[in-house]
Amino acid sequence: MLSQLKQLEDVKDQFQKCVRCGLCRSVCPIFKEDRRETTAPRGKVFLTQMLSSGEIEPGSKVSDKLSMCLLCESCSSECPSGIEVHKLVILARSMVSEKCPSLTNQLIFKKIWTKPQLLNRCVGLLRAGQSFGLLNIGYKMGFLPKSSGLLGQLPGRPARYALPETFPAITKQRARVGYFLGCATNYMFPEVAYSTVKVLSYLGCEVVIPKNTNCCGLPQMANGELATGQQLAAHNLEIFSQAEVEALICDCASCSATLSHSRDGDLPVYDAVSYIMQQLQPDFENRRKINKAITYHDPCHLAKAQKITTQPRQLLQMLPGIEYREMPGAGDCCGGAGTFVIKNFDMSMRILDRKIANIKDTGAELVATCCPTCTMQLSYGLSRHGLNVEVAHPLELLAESLGL
């Protein structure tokens, strides 16, 4: 459980249990590129062990090594000894950040990203900067990171402003569910939020969208501010428990992974696609046709962290008019991983290039995926390679097919 992680010392049995078999070398996207033991998951277990025992001191070198992890869980989900390498990395980052605090990190992840209004203002400034072309200039002059191009053009209005606190079921009510609006969906892909809510409502859900939710907590946990992230996750879960909903639905794989792995109460947390396919079972007869060749990219936080791979494919394959094409390496990470691409742009692009080549191989016109950061990363990669391929959330396609 993410909520129970405290310090490296508490998980030291994991260091001993790692038999150093190296199986994790075969699945780590970073190791695939770098090929050095210093970036292998097995190496990270060793690094965290040395850190925990005091054999090495936290510092910038250690921090650089720890930053070479996407928290994609590929290693953890394969390890026969049950080592959760990604959690060791989270704990180690937290330890390093406690012992050698980074002011920038604290400002971004503790001060700004925990206060929705402040975050709103910052995103507003960013949007204005984009409109006046300042970001472009900043990038060209080297003030801004290479990854700033990933943002694309920020949409005009976050989803939060358009969504009511309660959205009624527009067919016979079958459930009352909570919808968690994650930061990336809110600011970058409001259309995904509208599609999710409309589809849920069409399929008989009263959807509760509380105003006072916060970031899910993952960016904080991933960037050394573990306790802050845990508080945010707990705060969000508490709000939905009080809202008396039967289930909490997220259309972002990272949010659903974080919240479902942080919950200690009874409220079930679902990825939106799997909830819809399992519990609401839409019928596809006489629906609008989407005449496109489509492939699917598995977000790590859905496929590895939550073992959800079949429902999104089922949904896509059932949509009328679609020609579904499975892509080779569909489960391989796209290299985005939230803030990873900002800190490690070149490595991120190397991983992304493999993904884009696989997408290209399918000849698909559209890639569907269930995670907004994957969507950003894939869109960026596709345009970098000059490919005219759209990226969409499966629920956007479902909403279109249902005529919503």
């Binding site: 078999c21 075969s26 090929r35 210093t38 292998a40 190496g43 090594k65 049950g82």
Partner: protein, 476 residues
Amino acid sequence: MLLNQPLKQKLLELLSPEQVLTDELDLKFYSYDSSFHAKLNRFFPEAVVFPRSTQEVSAVMRLAYEHNISVTPRGAGTGETCGCVAVQGGIIMDLSPWDTIEEVDVANMQVFVRPGVVHANLNTHLEKYGLFFPPDPGSSRMCTVGGMVSNNSSGLRAVKYGTTEQYILGLEVVLPNGDVIITGGQNSRAIKNVSGMNLTKLFVGAEGTLGVITKIRLRVWPKPKGRGLAMAVFDNLEEAPQAVLDVYRGGILPSGIEILDDSAIKAINMYKPEINLPNAEAILLFEVDGNPAGVEWEGQQIKEIVSRRAIKVEWATEPERIKSLWQGRSVVATAAARIRPDGSRIFAGEDISVPLNKVTECLRRIKKMAKEYGVAVVNYGHIGDGNVHTAPVINLDNQAEVEQVKKLTDAIHRLAIELGGATTGEHGVGAVRACYATAEHGEALKVMHRIKHTLDPTGIMNPGKLLPPEGDDYSA
């Protein structure tokens, strides 16, 4: 001699900066492989290099030779014997990133690969041509072909397909002084070849003590189209090895025969309850491959023969069912740790090989010894060729347990010699089993030392491995 700063600088002149590591923190990551020995001890190299051509390997070796610096070749570091760890410092030469499959010569049924190619990746590539490289270590997804050649690795299917050495047609080797040779005929693409001394076999299984393997000419085989698996359950351990002999006597050569004893069954069920193996004293898995009709016939024969001793036999040919029956065997190596919540599986005393008619006695005695030393063990292995894997599971923080397990593994190695077997069937000697060499090889050890001395007169090539220091006699 230790690597000093000017020499590190020289390495940087031979290779690009990304190909050399000298930072203290980076070097720590090269202090281990999968062995228990490397868990208990730390052996740090003074530099790690990643050459990407024969010329680069040769240049580094020449430098090392001139300055008397040890060089330890390394693949994926999945060995169990500290073989790829720099136990005497010096340079680690990590060849795992050099993973080009240079040519698949379908017409001549052979492939040319660089040492870093991962075994499973090679077979995935060969599948396109309907071919495969048969030896199949449990570490297939991670180990390199260079490591396999150097350890003469094998796996589940050694019963029928043998070990790596049977597939090596030729090698390119950089000798300790930097000279480059090609064994098996310098331009040869022949499969059969008895011309000259068999130098290829000298380097196979030499564990990187005679030179660095930079290119491998491998024989490949047509991939069988059919495959089936029989799972037999026994309520008496003695019956299992007997059933194996019955099958051989019945004129059938399965591709693999694996045993899981009660401890292994328990570990697998604790690791993945959904595998749900029946509680029994032993389970045997017989794999048959070949043409589909033959596979079915052999499977039915095995079922009939083994049913005389087993309480239950299941025969499957559907890929999904085979996968689920195999699942237990494929995870047992690391799942062993599950038998104790505070326990860790260690790789020590894990690979003895005994004559087929001694397998039952061997398993019984290992269990008895483990009890006497108070160490929990899980036993499994390639029973078809007498290769027994014992996985001790201990609490590594408990020094008393660590001491006990050292005694147990020593006793297991000595048991193997006593029973007319070998201290290692496939994992190799490395730094951990050299001490049994005198007892195992007697006078022949002197010849090994002479060969080593001829090829590596200054002893820079992976020192401290395979052979005990000359003159040492541990046999007592």
